[in-house]
């Protein structure tokens, strides 16, 4: 991969120049939380990586959109209005989330909606934030990322290392070659190691993923599922904030005439009762415990076509669940409460 370095103070100018590749988006503060938003006023943009309320998936696999427009039984694809965007400020865990969704939406029957948005969205990653409470990326091996972005900025305090991850990223750099320097020296490498070490020491929580998939298999009948099943409010927040939840529902919305209308896709949630109900009233996951077990199976044991655990350690379920059901508390429960809260 081509790696360059850039002065910290040049980032703003670079981002300005990248607007020719699409609308600039990035994290902004909204009340007490951070959200990805369109950046018209540069002063709102948060430069250091933050855990946004919703992961970047909201821009690639939006909560709600039209997939088809119909007129009688003639259907027309709705892809034209997908904008080109440049999204700055995406942390490595979110990019890993995209890599997992990429496989799901690209394999077997490529999904044109996901793929078009993904292709029209330049991902500018950022790392070396200070881990906050609940950051688990180091446990999940998602604290570094080698692919899935166009440019990646490693914030090394005095300067950025800039990793060029795609041909589009390369084009973006070429608009302002004066802002980048390709002379990487020992000094840069040392600084990189120093920042990484400093960051690594700041993680306060961990999960031992070498054993958890097996523990999940062994815990199929664990009382933990009943316990959390009783506690869960079925609010669905965990599935919205998780970068690797992709489930959706499809609904037709006819116009008043009834002859034309739209087929819409919107996020669904496997924790909801109706999710697996089939005709005749059979429900293969009738209890909330069963449904939570499916969710945690996906996050901690196997998910998607590749069958690997899908938790990327973003910590959002920890922030979000009103009744403290999250990867950490579930793992602690499954290990019989013995899981020590502390450094790995």
């Amino acid at each position: 991969m081509r790696v360059l370095w850039m002065k910290k103070e040049d980032l703003r100018e670079f981002l300005e120049s990248s607007k020719q590749f699409g609308e600039l988006w990035g994290p902004v503060q909204k009340g007490e939380v951070y959200v990805y938003d369109k950046i018209d006023d540069f002063s709102r943009l948060i430069l250091e990586p933050k855990r946004t309320l919703l992961p970047v998936k909201k821009l690639i696999h939006p909560p709600e959109f039209n997939i088809l427009r119909y007129e009688g039984e003639t259907y027309k694809t709705e892809l034209e209005n997908i904008p080109r965007r440049v999204v700055y400020g995406v942390p490595p865990c979110d990019i890993h989330g995209l890599l997992i969704l990429d496989d799901l939406f690209r394999r077997y029957y490529p999904d044109p909606y996901y793929i078009t948005r993904r292709e029209r969205t330049a991902i500018l990653g950022v790392s070396f934030c200070t881990p906050t409470e609940g950051c688990l990326c180091k446990s999940m091996g998602t604290d570094v990322v080698q692919e899935g972005f166009d440019l990646f900025f490693s914030d090394l305090k005095d300067f950025y290392l800039v990793w060029v991850g795609s041909s589009l990223g390369d084009d973006m750099v070429k608009v302002r070659p004066d802002l980048f320097n390709n002379n990487i020296t020992r000094k840069h490498l040392d600084k990189f190691m120093e920042c990484k070490k400093e960051r690594d020491e700041k993680f306060t929580k961990s999960i031992d993923m070498t054993v958890i998939p097996d523990i999940m298999e062994l815990s199929y009948d664990s009382p933990v599922w009943e316990e959390i099943g009783e506690r869960c409010l079925e609010c669905g927040a965990c599935t919205m904030v998780c970068p690797t939840c992709n489930c959706y529902n499809v609904v037709d919305e006819p116009s008043i005439s009834g002859f034309t209308g739209e087929r819409r896709r919107y996020w669904d949630c496997c924790i909801f009762t109706e999710y697996s109900l089939v005709a005749g009233g059979d429900n293969f996951r009738a209890t909330r415990a069963d449904r939570l077990k499916l969710w945690y199976t996906h996050k901690l044991k196997s998910f998607g076509y590749s069958g690997k655990p899908a938790c990327v350690g973003c910590g959002r379920c920890i922030d979000t669940c009103p009744v403290d059901i999250n990867v950490l508390s579930v793992v602690r429960g499954l290990l019989g409460g013995k899981e020590k809260e502390g450094k790995s």
Binding site: Y70, G72, Y75, T77, N246, C247, D252, P254, L294, F303
Partner: protein, 282 residues
């Protein structure tokens, strides 16, 4: 058609309802043909695969293909009226246009079944996918050993494809065992018994060279599988097609997932061995 439609697997293709008639109180038979004749004649599929049927304004739902690929041109479905899409479908007249896309799912592993005996066990709406397999076997009769059809329904009027199956009783290359739980009118010409009771007529089969295919209401599986296992049919040669809620049919929406298995891609046909390994499958 819009150009971007071509690479979009979510766009249904127009198809015409050629013929329809009632199979029971709430189940209707539909013959459907792609409006595009070349598409109609060139579509390849396997028994056990399904299609997504779409009615604009009502939505989409998965239905097993009931016809056999050995008789190309027309696609046949039998549909129970249960909700929005099926109600809208039941309102349509012959010659109406619907949207279809597919075929999807793995289908029955014909390559493996060929050369073996085949026991088909049907309950209720399970006739939809299994009729396809049965007709395929009959159209390619030399490729199969003994073929059995064990078909159970609550009453004679609930038995789907009753006339068609009664006619098959005349064939001497098929053991066609039909039964009803109850016979209110008293003129049912076949067995009055639970479908599991029909297994006593399956005798002297070389079980190592036998495949079984089961489809019916969830309650049926347990008892039928018990019988098949007792007969000695290997677990990986007992095939079943399973029903899950499906919103896309192509591995994207997540609805049909069991563990990390996508029923719409890895299924809907599973072996009993798969099922014992995935506890939520049945």
């Amino acid at each position: 058609m819009n150009k971007s439609n071509e690479e979009n697997p979510f766009v249904p293709e127009p198809a015409r309802i050629v013929r329809k008639y009632d199979l029971s109180d709430d189940v209707r038979f539909f013959q459907i043909r792609f409006v595009d004749m070349e598409k109609a004649l060139s579509m390849r599929y396997l028994p056990g695969q399904f299609m997504m049927l779409s009615i604009a304004g009502a939505g989409e739902a998965p239905f097993s293909i009931s016809s056999t690929p050995s008789r190309p041109g027309l696609l046949e479905f039998c549909v129970r009226e249960v909700g929005e899409v099926t109600r809208a479908l039941f309102r349509l007249k012959e010659n109406s246009i619907v949207g279809i896309r597919g075929p999807y799912g793995n289908g029955f592993p014909l390559d493996k079944i060929k050369g073996n005996n085949l026991i088909i066990v049907v309950g209720g709406l399970g006739a939809a996918p299994l009729r396809s397999l049965l007709l395929y076997a009959l159209d390619n009769r030399d490729n199969f050993g003994n073929v059995y059809l064990l078909h159970g329904a609550r009453t004679p009027s609930d038995m789907l494809f009753k006339e068609e199956f009664l006619e098959l009783k005349e064939r001497d290359d098929l053991q066609c065992l039909l039964s009803v739980d109850k016979d209110p009118t008293g003129d049912w010409p076949c067995y009055v018994a639970k479908v599991t009771k029909l297994f006593k007529y399956v005798k002297n089969v070389n079980v190592a060279k036998t495949y079984a295919a089961v489809c019916g209401p969830p309650v049926m599986y347990k008892f039928v599988i018990e019988k098949l296992v007792k007969l000695g049919i290997p677990k990986h040669q007992i095939l079943m097609t399973l029903e899950r809620r499906m919103k896309c049919g192509i591995g994207k929406c997540g609805h049909c997932v069991v563990g990390h298995t996508y029923t719409c891609i890895d299924g809907p046909v599973f072996t009993y061995w798969d099922v014992t390994n995935m506890r939520e499958l049945i």
